[in-house]
Amino acid sequence: MKGYIHSFESLAALDGEGVRYGVFMQGCPLRCVYCHNPDTWCSGGNSFSSEELVKKVSRYKSYFGKNGGVTFSGGEPLVQAAFIKDTVQHLKVAGINYAIDTSGAAGLSEDAKCVLRDAQLVILDLKFWDDESYKKYTGGSMLAVLNTLDFLESIKKRVWVRTVVVPGINDSEECLEKYLELLKGKKCVEKYELLGFHTMGFFKYENLGIKNPLKDIKPLPAEALTRLQKFVDKRFKRSLG
């Protein structure tokens, strides 16, 4: 089976536990205003067979230890759920774990469910807090995301939730409260991480000739991120209970 892959990052240490090998899948149903990888949006591009991908990934097995493994990210990996399902069957034989880094907005096909069920960890990108904001800033549907979260809760999957904090859009405590509300009672969520908006992907918009809606926005200052993370950490513990 063939899958379309945008790129690889052999040390994606932050996308899950242990040493991670990042596979960035091509294609995404969302058009987030702050996206730093607009070059992963459209489908097509470099194709790999499951075997080729497994062969490539296996070269990194010696680094993985007990915790490490592959992280499928993107793009939106679950758009190619069938390909990933095929690949992870081979990975399992090779004794390699995997994690999925998803927006949860691609819908829950049977293949997607299967892939999520067998993952060691799911990183769920909780982009916005309600239908209106979700539609406005990503073009996608919040309902699909919430369904995915419910599904993960129902199968007791280990989940890390992440939110990108963009100055002027969601960088207030009031706003983050709304996100926390969505996580209330979700026992599957182990960790809630905030990521600061940065401008390192801006050049890609220029290269691709796509309009960058946030071109005047400055990166989130590190101090602001630390402050907001502390706020979230305090609240998050409470909402879990």
């Binding site: 040493v19 990194y60 010696s62």
Partner: protein, 742 residues
């Protein structure tokens, strides 16, 4: 004997066998760093004085003072101290800390120029003495052929130790502490008797003269120690004496020799045995034990040699390579990690980060997890240590080898090395395309051959054929040049003391080197997979290339390019082995450039990989900056493919990553760095320098050196104080690939 009280007996009681002594008596330590001590008030006082001196040295342009009236040797200077009443481990190269001595034995002109560079002139008595003395340098140039001189001049062979001392020899300084000098002298006299029975061939005569020279300096070492009030004719009786006796041996060696690298060897388990005995006897506590190691390390940090600016271009940052090898596994499968390994690492906290000693952790899958984590933490905090794969080296060198310089393994006291700098193989490719002429000077250096055509794309098979022919010619010239150099070095600048602390007939290694590996591999890959057309200048020389289309690049775990790099090293090594070496040395090869990758780049024209004339090479076996597109581990995997069996003198790889990319917090980063090291070395890779820092920090330090006065970074098999680098080297370091997240 009082000095050996409580030690388990073994073969070491009958013969000089330090390794046996260690194995019978050391105690592996598998727990964490909790037991370690900070500095004592005494250490703080000495450290404060050292820091003052270093600032002063820096203000004076890197050299505090020079004594131009005495030639450096064991007895030419009165005893020197940092603070006389506070020094626990005593001994300096001259009578004052950081004062440099003149050492013209390897090359008189070099010594004169080095003095001149810092505003000094060589004293009259030294001038007179060397009027009638042949130096190593003079000897070499008496014999060098025109071709050797040409190869040296155009820079295809560069950095050869023909005007400076070769270094990379490690005396087994532990022997002094364990046996005392009298016993070592007696044994050497017996060796001499035994060898005198042989027929007097040139080899025997040379060896007998060597021994006599060794005996002379062994006696001088006893006298040198006596001037500091110590009697090293007998063995050491406690830990302080063991450290002191061992250090005297090293000190004598660096007074006699100013070789490029003077490494201390593998001393931690040895010292640990003495410390543990004192701790058990209640005559020492942990704070006192740490103080001993702190004081020894402070002394190592003060070793200096007087160098010329040209030398500093090759080996930037005033390095001495007091390489100190820690850990590794015993052949009996016990880790050779002791509390004293921790104590050496602790000096980087107690005394601050530093380039010297060049702390080298011999990494093995079997090392205790707690120790691995502590090493990783120290790396992240200080950027001051390097790692080498004990699991690959132990197979060839046993479990009592040490690292000399950056990556050169040798059995302590049983092997020595003839250091041979390196050959610029990227330039050999250009020479092959230009029919043996040098692309910059236009001189005919190698035999005349076919000049490749302009305007037509290069054919891979044809280029490889020409390259092989010229590389083969080069290998022969290289071995012969080295033979001349080391013959003369033995004759005129023989390491009397260091060789006295070896077995009488040690095995010899002749260490060749390659520079420009990644440039050459990518260039051949470009010719094979893209379309490369030569461009000629008015002289008819190929000076540039038009490269169309993409091609696989070394550093992305892509076999198409990596196999070329692997082939180059294997091919060149097999070619070197075809020419006989001086004194029957075994051929070895390294891929290590130190900081000379900048100089080699300057002396090399444009290459088919798209590198412009004059641009720096990547250091050592590193992929070229910015060409590794799949991240840190892909780059490590590529380097891991280079086979250690044909590069037993080391494969250097320098790895820089930002803390944010490595992990979220200290604990996470530590664990991930351990996983990276385990994963890399599990593939039989050889060496890794680790830097965990941000590019911005280096840029800030370059613009304002006072911001980070002790900023230490690993460059290529060693560490430097970043502020001691010239601006073009700082820029080159900054331009290297930093693995960072997007």
């Amino acid at each position: 004997m009082k000095c050996w009280r409580g030690f388990k007996e073994g073969n070491w009681n009958n013969n000089i066998d330090v390794s046996d002594f260690i194995k019978k008596n050391y105690t592996p330590y598998t727990d964490g760093p909790e037991f370690l001590s900070g500095t004592t008030e005494r250490t703080d006082r000495v450290l404060a004085r050292v820091e003052e001196l270093l600032i002063e040295e820096n203000k004076k342009g890197g050299v505090l003072s020079v004594d131009t009236d005495h030639v450096s040797s064991l007895l030419t200077f009165r005893p020197g101290y940092i603070i006389k009443e506070d020094d626990i481990i005593v001994g300096l190269q001259t009578d004052e800390p950081l004062k440099r001595a003149v050492n013209p034995f390897a090359g008189y002109r070099n010594a004169v120029q080095a003095c001149k560079a810092y505003g000094y002139e060589i004293g009259e008595n030294v001038k007179d003495e060397f009027k009638y003395r042949t130096t190593h340098n003079t000897g070499v140039f008496r014999v060098y052929t025109d071709t050797m001189k040409k190869a040296r001049h155009v820079g295809v062979l560069t950095g050869l130790p023909d005007a400076y001392a070769r270094g990379r020899i490690i005396g087994d300084y532990r022997r002094i502490a364990l046996y005392g000098m009298n016993y070592l002298i007696e044994q050497r006299k017996l060796d001499k008797q035994r060898i005198s029975e042989r027929d007097m061939s040139a080899e025997t005569i040379q060896l007998l003269e060597d021994i006599e020279r060794q005996l002379e300096f062994m006696a001088q070492l006893i006298q040198m120690a006596a001037e500091y009030g110590c009697d090293i004719s007998r063995p050491a009786e406690n830990a302080r004496e063991a450290v002191q006796w061992l250090y005297f041996g090293y000190l004598g060696a660096v007074k006699e020799q100013n070789g490029a690298a003077n490494s201390i060897g593998r001393i931690s388990a040895f010292i640990d045995i003495y410390i543990k005995r004192d701790l058990d006897e209640g005559t020492l506590d942990e704070s006192g034990a740490q103080e001993l190691i702190d004081d020894l390390v402070l002394k190592m940090r003060l070793v200096r040699h007087l160098r010329t600016p040209e030398y500093n271009d090759l080996f930037a940052g005033d390095p001495v390579w007091v390489t100190c090898s820690l850990a590794g596994m015993g052949e009996d499968k016990r880790p050779m990690v002791t509390k004293t390994c921790y104590r050496f690492l602790q000096t980087l906290y107690n005394l601050g980060p530093s380039a010297e000693p060049n702390i080298t952790v011999l990494w093995s899958e079997g090392l205790p997890q707690e120790f691995k984590k502590f090493c990783a933490k120290v790396s992240i905090d200080t950027d001051s240590i390097q790692y080498e794969n004990d699991d690959v080296m132990r197979k060839d060198f046993g479990d009592d080898y040490a690292i000399a310089c950056c990556v050169s393994a040798m059995k302590t006291g049983k092997q020595m090395q003839f250091f041979g700098a390196r050959c610029n193989l990227a330039k050999v490719l250009l020479m092959a395309l230009n029919g043996g002429r040098d692309e910059i000077y236009g001189e005919q250096v190698a035999p005349e051959g076919k000049v490749f055509d302009e305007g037509a794309p290069l054919d891979y098979e044809e280029v490889v054929g020409a390259f092989k022919e010229y590389a083969s010619w080069m290998a022969k010239l290289y071995v012969n040049t080295m033979n001349v150099i080391h013959y003369m070095h033995d004759r005129y600048a023989y390491e009397r003391l260091m060789m006295a602390l070896h077995d009488v007939e040690p095995e010899r290694l002749m260490a060749f080197g390659i520079s420009g590996l990644s440039v050459l591999a990518d260039s051949l890959s470009a010719i094979k997979y893209a379309k490369v057309t030569p461009v000629k200048d008015e002289r008819g020389m190929i000076v540039d290339f038009k490269t169309e289309g993409d091609f696989p690049k070394y550093g992305n775990d892509d076999d198409r390019a990596d196999e070329i790099a692997k082939w180059i090293t294997e091919f060149f090594y097999s070619e070197l082995c075809k020419t006989k070496t001086y004194r029957g040395a075994k051929h070895t090869l390294s891929i290590l450039t130190i900081t000379s990758n900048v100089v080699y780049g300057k002396k090399t024209g444009s290459t088919p990989d798209g590198r412009h004339a004059g641009e720096p090479f990547a250091p050592g076996a590193n992929p070229m900056h910015g060409r590794d597109k799949e991240g840190a581990l892909a780059s490590l995997n590529s380097v891991a493919k280079i086979c250690y069996d044909c590069c037993q003198d080391g494969i250097s790889n320098t790895f820089s990553i930002t803390p944010e990319t490595l992990g979220t917090d200290e604990n996470d980063r530590t664990e991930k760095l351990v996983a990276v090291l385990d994963g890399y070395f599990a593939q039989s890779a050889h060496h890794l320098n680790v830097n965990v820092l941000n590019r911005q920090k280096l840029i800030d330090a370059m613009n304002d050196p006072t911001l980070y006065p002790s900023l230490t970074i690993r460059v290529s098999g060693y560490a430097v104080n970043f502020n001691k680098l010239t601006r073009d080297k700082q820029l080159e370091v900054i331009s290297r690939t930093f693995h960072e997240k997007m």
